[in-house]
Amino acid sequence: MGNKQTIFTAQQLDSYQDCTYFTRKEILRLFDRYRDLAPQLVPLDYTCQPDVKLPYELIGSMPELKDNPFRQRIAEVFSDDGEGNMTLDDFLDMFSVMSEMAPRDLKAYYAFKIYDFNNDDFLCKSDLEKTLNKLTRNELTEDEVRMVCEKVIDESDLDNDGRLSLEDFQTMIVRAPDFLSTFHIRI
């Protein structure tokens, strides 16, 4: 990779490096990945900050996401318009949160948003059921789904309001150390 790149200005790169967990090289690599999704749409020159947005269909077809059961939610949570259409900034933001360097709290915050299907700031039973169905290909019976959801809420709901708030979720994440390594997409 040549030392001279004309995609971003130095200031742009600085702000990317300051606001994400990526280095210059990774940012350029991510830009390449982003551009590979739609070479005709994404210009090679980002210095004038073009307003380009890739639709969810393209983002969701990335090899890193295409088999992920939560791909749509991930794209929705990280996209600015909430519909999965992503600018380069959203794209970088997504992989920054999913990177190895991101701290537990940040990851937990976004994981919570991903699991919160109805955006009501609580993981209620319907959210958990949706999660479960996504994870098990709808093969559990309704009773089993209900039991699992009840058990999850029972285990993690500290304030007994019948649903998981972000605080409950974070407490649970702290007690589940694997989360840091599993909530991670390598690029």
Partner: protein, 957 residues
């Protein structure tokens, strides 16, 4: 969706697609800007498009700077004053009641908006509090609510942002960057905050010396860029990134952890090789490039396996180093270099291990809680790493099976009869006895084998080929045992019934560790007590033995992955399909790595270049295992807690193995006499003597007395160690007590959370009960801030989220309270003016409710002397009349504003109270058959009348 290919890009429809070129900002703003007065519909339409869009619109607010942010406010303000619109007059009151809030009430309001989750102090948390609030306020699509609190919230957001920027400015550059990165916001917001901070900083700087400030700014910028450059370069050097991704993508994190461990060990070895090569080997080679190999020893090829013969006198082993002090450019004492290099390396290794072990323990073990099993399985176990289609399917299946198992486990746990548990206990006992005896037996057999070998071996420089080959016997047997006995252990495991998979793995690990420990202990004993006496250059002999062990172990690892994985794959797929494709046994493989690393640590004193062999070994092993994994194995069926296993492995690497290796080397250095004719320490009583000699030398030359002083008064004094141990013990005790205190506090805090949850639900219940029992108050409260048109919507969304309902209720309550006060003060009734801001907004709401109720009741009593009309329609008409009168009087209020308006107020109030009274007797006794449309509509009308009067009253001022 997955079938979507890049071919779609060439579809011209894509390029015309609006989504691609859409300018979000303008598109979402235009409807509002083009028709600023149509906020009623425009805003409604906008919000009703969905929670996301409203959320989005608000999220975007701070980005474009302050002017852009204020569009909403500017736009909404004039609407309240435009009363010429023919549409229902009610919504004007609405807006009026929104914007006429006295400034001092703003504070109360923002307090009550604050959700319980908002904690101040931690910056991230606070920031999250806002965004949470922002999310929770708007998504429910209640536009009136938005209109009602939007102002307060925007103010608060601005304040929060200012505070955040100030906090960030106060931090150092590095901390600031990390703090910005950790903010849970979108990239644009982060960028905005960052630019704010930078602007703030440069503004502050410009007041100081500009030139200096510029200079330091540039310096720090270039430093930062340099740092990023170094990080980039380091990432380029990072090994095997692509392969790691591939493995993680197909096999998940738990298998990946083996490869991470392998890589970590490889880094360890590269470090130790660099240290040893740099400080010991290079000086030796500079002084004497060619080893003095006796002419009758030739290279025969077998040396690569045995490490003997030709290699014997090279720098590979201890014997190849001299004891001289070299005087080239600087004086270089080989003895000291050898001693201190090994010692420092061991200390560094120990520190690195302790740190990684401690941090890993902290994050993975102490905090982990086995109780929350299904929560973990559901919400944390999904591996976002996995990108392979097949692996995803398999993982979903596995998860389903596991969930089912865990449910049935819970159901069956109680049903375990005494005889069954006795049987289980018997099997455990048998398996443990058997495995321990196997470990002891293999240790003993190796002991006898070593004795046999020592009898045959002679202390001569050149062995015959057969003699050399015989030396391979011990390593061969040792490695064979390491390969075969664990297979037996796995077999035992099949017969035992462990309640959890973790216990099973722990049992397996403990047995394997016992086996490896016993083998290594016997070998070490043999080297220390037999070899050290018998051979003239015994350190080199030990080095050779270790070299052979390392090499043969490598061969057996290859064989192991061939037999263990390839053969069982063949058996599983061709011969006995019942067994299926094997899984990659992480525990066994990691233990093999740990064993190999222990050999390298023990050997570092006897053969300083052993790490080089180890690097080669691990490097090849990585590719070997990778190929074996992808060819033979399937992803693991159970997603165990990989992070905890990782911690256990690091702990094992440290505790028996590294500590054992260090004590072995330390024993050699302190107690054993170095060989007399070879090696750097020839002629000394023990290796450690080299330091004493050096001290004597230093004393004589009298150049640096402090070193001697330290040596004599610190290193050699018992008092020093006594004091140090005493202090450490005291510190440990204190920390122990502190930990106990923390545990107690954690318990108390946890209890507190539970209690607060109970309180919350209790208060909520009370609130709801009260609202149910007094529907009039409820409707009255809700009316002032609602279109009658929007009401059905509101009912549907009201049930959606309780938190939103609470906030609404609180706001309504406060608003109501304010009104009540105003009303009472104009009516001459004494006002309880203690609106103390109680910490919990809920309690405040409760109190306010009760107070309001009390007042309400008082009013009812005091209004008793009014003639009570029998039907509601009269109340309605009265209210209407009152309103009309209020309007009329409002027009000519210039003459006597106070009295007329207050009289209007009084009248309206009376009308309303009357309406309430009428409507209550009808409502309470027979609620089922009378849904009280008339009563409620009368109430609404009365409310509207009152509002109007109030508006005009305000306008009058």
């Amino acid at each position: 969706m997955t079938s979507y290919s890049n071919g779609g890009l060439f579809n011209p429809a894509y390029h015309d697609s609006e989504t691609l070129e859409i300018d979000r900002r303008s598109s979402s703003k235009t409807p509002l800007h083009t028709n600023p007065y149509a906020r009623g519909e425009g805003a409604d339409g906008h919000y009703s498009t969905g929670q996301i869009s409203s959320d989005d619109a608000l999220r975007r607010v701070p980005r474009g700077g302050w002017q852009e942010e204020s569009w909403r406010g500017r736009e909404s303000l004039p609407m309240g004053h435009i009363s010429t619109r023919p549409r229902s007059p009610s919504w004007q009151h609405d807006n009026h009641s929104t914007f006429q809030i006295p400034p001092d009430s703003q504070y109360d309001r923002s307090l009550s908006i604050r959700l319980p989750s908002t904690t101040s102090g931690n910056m991230t948390m606070r920031r999250r509090g806002i965004s949470m609030r922002r999310m929770s306020m708007f998504p429910n699509g209640d536009p009136n609510h938005v209109a009602f609190t939007e102002d307060a919230i925007r103010n608060e957001m601005e304040n929060e942002e200012q505070n955040l920027v100030k906090e960030l400015v106060a931090l150092s550059t590095r901390d600031r960057i990390w703090a910005i990165r950790d903010l849970p916001m979108s990239f644009d917001e982060k960028k905005h905050i960052r630019s704010q901070v930078l602007a703030f900083k440069s503004a502050k700087k410009s007041r100081q010396f500009t030139c200096f400030a510029d200079c330091s700014e540039n310096m720090s910028l270039s430093f930062r860029r340099c740092g990023y450059g170094i990080r980039s370069a380091r990432q380029t050097l990072e090994l095997w990134q692509g392969i790691m991704k591939e493995i993680g993508g197909t096999f998940g994190t738990s298998v990946l952890s083996y490869f991470m461990f392998l890589k970590w060990l490889l880094m360890f070895n590269i470090f130790s090789f660099l240290v040893n090569f740099g400080f010991i080997t290079i000086p030796q080679l500079v002084y004497r490039p060619w080893p003095n190999i006796s002419p009758n020893v030739s290279f025969r090829g077998l040396e690569i396996l045995t490490g003997a013969g030709y290699f014997n006198n090279t720098v590979m082993y201890y014997g190849g180093y001299s004891n001289e002090t070299k005087v080239h450019l600087v004086e270089y004492n080989m003895q000291l270099a050898y001693f201190f290099t090994i010692a420092v390396y061991m200390v560094l290794c120990g520190i690195a291990l302790i740190f990684s072990m401690a941090s890993s323990f902290k994050t993975n073990y102490v905090l982990a809680d086995p109780a929350s099993n299904s929560a973990w399985q559901l919400l944390c176990s999904w591996d976002f790493n996995i990108t392979n289609d097949k692996a995803v399917r398999q993982r979903k299946n596995n998860l389903r099976v596991q969930l089912k198992e865990s449910m049935s486990e819970n159901a069956q746990r109680e049903r375990l009869s005494l005889s069954e548990s006795l049987k289980h206990f018997g099997v455990y006992l048998g398996a443990w006895l058997l495995s321990t005896s196997l470990a002891v037996g293999s240790g003993a057999s190796i002991y006898y084998l070593c004795q046999f070998e020592q009898q045959r071996a002679t202390d001569s420089a050149n062995w015959s080929l057969l003699q050399e080959a015989e030396t391979l016997l011990v390593p061969f047997v040792v490695s064979l045992m390491n390969l075969v006995v664990p297979l037996f252990y796995s077999l035992f495991n099949k017969f035992e019934h462990y309640s959890s998979q973790r216990k099973q793995i722990y049992a397996l690990v403990v047995r394997n560790v016992l086996l490896k420990m016993s083998i290594l202990a016997v070998l070490c004993y043999n080297w220390m007590n037999v070899v050290a006496v018998k051979f003239s250059c015994w350190e080199s002999m030990v080095g050779q033995a270790l070299y052979r062990l390392v090499i043969v172990d490598f061969l057996f690892l290859m064989l192991g992955s061939f037999f263990g994985e390839f053969l069982s794959n063949v058996i599983g797929t061709r011969l006995i399909p019942r067994l299926g494709v094997p899984e990659f046994d992480v525990a066994r493989n990691v233990l093999e790595l740990i064993y190999a690393q222990t050999l390298a640590w023990i050997g570092i004193y006897f053969s300083p270049l052993l790490p080089a062999i180890q690097i080669l070994k691990f490097f090849i092993l990585f590719y070997l295992k990778k190929v074996s994994l992808t060819q033979n194995c399937q992803p693991p069926r159970r997603s165990g807690r990989a992070a905890q296993m990782q911690t256990i492995f690091i702990a094992l690497l440290f505790f028996p193995f590294f500590v054992g290796a260090v004590s072995m080397v330390a024993f050699t250095a302190w107690s054993l006499t170095p060989s007399e004719h070879c090696g750097p320490f020839r002629g000394l009583n023990s290796t450690y003597n080299v330091v004493e000699v050096w001290m004597v030398h230093l004393k004589e030359t009298s150049s640096s007395h402090w070193v001697v002083w330290i040596y004599q008064n610190v290193i050699r004094s018992e008092i020093f160690y006594f004091l140090i141990s005493l202090i450490i013990i005291v510190i440990i005790y204190i920390f122990w007590q502190v930990t106990r205190g923390h545990k107690l506090r954690i318990r108390v805090l946890r209890q507190q959370i539970v209690d607060e949850g109970k309180d919350k639900s209790f208060l909520l219940e009370r609130l709801q009960n009260l609202q149910k029992s007094h529907p009039d108050i409820r409707s009255k409260q809700k009316n002032p801030k609602k279109h009658s048109k929007r009401r059905p919507d509101d009912h549907s969304s009201g049930g959606q989220s309780t938190s939103n309902a609470i906030v609404q209720a609180l706001l309504a309550r406060q608003h109501f309270e304010k009104e009540e006060e105003e009303r009472l003060s104009t009516g001459g009734v004494p006002v309880p003016s203690d609106i103390s801001s109680i910490s919990s907004a809920l309690i405040q709401a409760m109190q306010a409710r009760q107070r309001a109720e009390g007042q309400e009741r008082n009013e009812h009593y005091s209004a008793g002397y009014y003639e009570s009309p029998t039907n509601t329609s009269s109340a309605v008409t009265q209210a209407m009349q009152a309103r009309q009168r209020a309007q009329v009087e409002g027009t000519d209020d210039a003459s006597d504003p106070t009295s007329s308006v207050s009289s209007v107020m009084m009248q309206v109030m009376q009308a309303r109270q009357r309406a309430e009274k009428d409507y209550r007797p009808q409502w309470v006794p027979a609620p089922p058959q009378n849904p009280a449309p008339a009563g409620s509509s009368a109430l609404i009308q009365a409310m509207l009348a009152r509002q109007q009067a109030q508006n005009e009253y305000d306008d009058g001022y």
